[in-house]
């Protein structure tokens, strides 16, 4: 044990030495920013710009977390649980803020920092970084799904799920491409689908105070639609294994007529299938009830300041810089990440890149968030596990199972598979 500990200390020492070296260099502290790995260079650019703009008060080092969200969370959690003080700014998935806040791993945003974080920021992304009415992070980027369809097959996009499934059935009769591409694999994407449907049906997974499941008839409705899709001609044969990328590929290969996915499919279609791109269109996410707007689930990243950071004041400032107007615009245009600042959606440069900016903004304004609770991981797994495969859903009993498992999770008695 001792020896092991000594080994564990070595890399730590090395990084401390490195940090010291950096400090001596310009006499300025290094702020470690941990965020998802970005290949576009937009995040590194933001880090460099902010280091520059700080006038020598700090330097931001962008550290890449693993690619998969679970891996990102595991690394952060492991280090925070060990009170690692070499983390300063943390890029959290929108579903983690409650958990990190309740575990006291991140600092609350107060005073001026809070004011600057809230100013001009979209409301729904802010909800994801709020826990028990306190702000624990600042929204960095957001994301939401639209309905993508082929205009050559579907002249007017469907407004509701029922319409979409009917259109798909008609196309199937005519022997035309007719699949509805959606995330049906047993993972977070399936939970997102369910969350969108239940919110669109006027319900929610948890009650307002996140103390008990809400579910009820809207949940049964949502599960019913998932089952209906799986048993209709609209279902892709590999529905139960599909994630966002398989959906994108299926649409690009021409086997589908509809796709529910994030805006990254747009530049991809342009690059991979210019022929189909000509008739590739977008529309708001289909409704559950014709008279109630759809409420697609939002994704994205929130920036938080670690409770163990040695430079919290600078870290708040740096986080605000990383998500300022200029850097969000770069991230949107180069990295394809929809911004969280309302004003950017009117920016001509952004609209040129995102012809669907208006629809994305509209979707964001009526968007829903996934349950805000420290036990989110359990809840998400309970949902995706119970509703997989979609063809096997028995709506009423599935919702009962989900309710029982959420009850357990909220009491720390849930075993996750």
């Amino acid at each position: 044990m001792r020896r092991l500990r000594a080994f564990a200390v070595l890399p730590l020492l090395a990084s401390m030495l490195a940090a010291c070296g950096g400090d001596e260099g310009g006499g300025r502290p290094t702020l470690n920013w941990y965020n998802f790995p970005d290949d576009s260079g937009a995040l590194q650019k933001a880090a460099d710009r902010c280091s520059q703009a700080s006038g020598g008060r700090y330097r931001i080092a962008y550290n890449k977390l693993p690619r998969a969200a679970d891996g990102q969370r595991q690394q952060l959690v492991r280090r925070l649980a060990a009170e690692d003080d070499s983390l300063d700014i943390l890029g959290l998935d929108v579903t983690w803020a409650a958990e990190f806040a309740e575990a006291r791993w991140i600092r609350e945003w107060t005073g001026v920092a809070r004011q600057r974080a809230v100013e001009g920021t979209l409301r729904v992304p802010l909800e994801t970084s709020t826990w028990k009415r306190r702000l624990y992070a600042v929204p960095y980027n957001t994301n939401t799904q639209l309905l993508w369809y082929r205009q050559d097959l579907v002249p007017t996009p469907p407004k509701t799920w029922a319409e979409m499934l009917a259109m798909s059935a008609t196309l199937a009769q005519q022997d035309k491409p007719h699949y509805v591409e959606i995330q049906g694999a047993q993972y977070e994407g399936l939970t997102v689908w369910f969350n969108t449907l239940i919110n669109s049906a006027g319900g929610s997974i948890l009650n307002r105070t996140a103390t008990a499941p809400s579910l009820g008839p809207p949940a049964v409705r949502a599960a019913g639609i998932m089952r209906e899709l799986a048993h209709s001609p609209a279902a892709d044969p590999s529905l139960s294994n599909q994630m966002e990328d398989q959906n994108r590929l299926a649409m690009e290969s021409g086997t589908a007529a509809f796709e529910l996915n994030y805006p990254f499919v747009y530049p991809s279609m342009k690059a991979n299938n210019p022929e189909l791109f000509k008739s590739f269109r977008w529309a708001p996410y289909p409704r559950v009830d014709a008279n109630r707007p759809s409420r697609p689930t939002i994704g994205g990243i929130d920036l938080a300041v670690s409770a163990y950071s040695r430079h919290p004041g600078l870290a708040f400032e740096a986080a605000l810089c990383l998500r300022n107007r200029e850097n969000q615009l770069t991230a949107a245009i180069e990295g394809g990440l929809p911004p969280t600042l309302r004003a950017l959606y009117d920016e001509p440069e952004l609209i040129k890149q995102y012809p669907f900016a208006k629809e994305v903004l509209a979707a964001l304004e009526s968007a829903s968030v996934r349950p805000l609770t420290p036990a989110y991981q359990n809840i998400s797994i309970a949902i995706s596990h119970t509703l997989s495969p979609p063809s096997g859903i028995q709506p009423v009993s599935a919702v009962n199972t989900i309710r029982d498992q959420i009850d357990d999770a909220l009491r720390s008695e849930g075993v996750i598979p």
Partner: protein
Amino acid sequence: MSTQAEPAGAPPPAEAERTGRHRAPLSAGARQERRLGWLLCAPAVIVMLAVTAYPIGYAVYLSLQRYDLRFPAQAEFVGLSNYGAVLTSEFWWDAFWVTLFITVVSVAIELVLGMGLALVMHRTIFWRGTVRTSVLVPYGIVTVVAAFSWQYAWTPDLGYLAELLPSGDAPLTEMWSALWLIILAEVWKTTPFMALLLLAGLALVPEETLKAAMVDGATPWQRFTKVMVPLMKPAILVALLFRTLDAFRIFDNIYVLTGGAQNTGSVSILGYDNLFTALNLGIGSAISVLIFICVGIIAFTFVKLFGAAAPGAEVK
């Protein structure tokens, strides 16, 4: 674990008995020597306590708490309720049966293949070293590395093995095919270990006995079943014990091949997920302790019921 503890615990009483028989009161020198002996092995004992007893004790302690990193304010003593939650959870039993299935099937296959390999290694006259070395190659490869090769090989569009299947088949995404592939990876990897232990057992079979059987007209099969296997029994049981204990704790192959999806998770995967994804130290520790108990039961069964002797204790 308990098998390792036994030889460590056994010598002192035996030592005391022997010395007691020879000269009743210990001479000052002997006492000194004994003290020195204890002092010399003290560092090892302390290290063993620190790396095994302490974590085990701590896990037992945690398993009796509501200790959830996400709800630190609500940590409290909850008695056995974590065990209740785990034992009434279908996920535990799913994982348990999957683990048992993988253990029984893979160890059975390994025993047969390992015996074959051991006989080959034992009987080879030419290139004995080459044969033994090449048989051991899979065992020398890091499990995670091997598991990744298997994973790529079975992934459609990437792997050469997936090419052999009807197109569109993704065997790792379906429960039963994935389980068999996990067993295949496990067998490929650890059969050499089994073979090595059995080879040691084969060396115990005296050549004269086999020759005598041959003179008596025993067929090769009879010589194998009536002479070799009974004489090798201790070695076979030890090999089975080691492999069963290992197989029951299977983690790395599953982690890489399926990540536990489609109900292919073992109990160790379940424990890992509850500790590291759910951050529920109470439930996760309860699972770890239950795995420890299962392993204990397996070891006890082998030692008491089948009379497997721990290595070094064969002389008894």
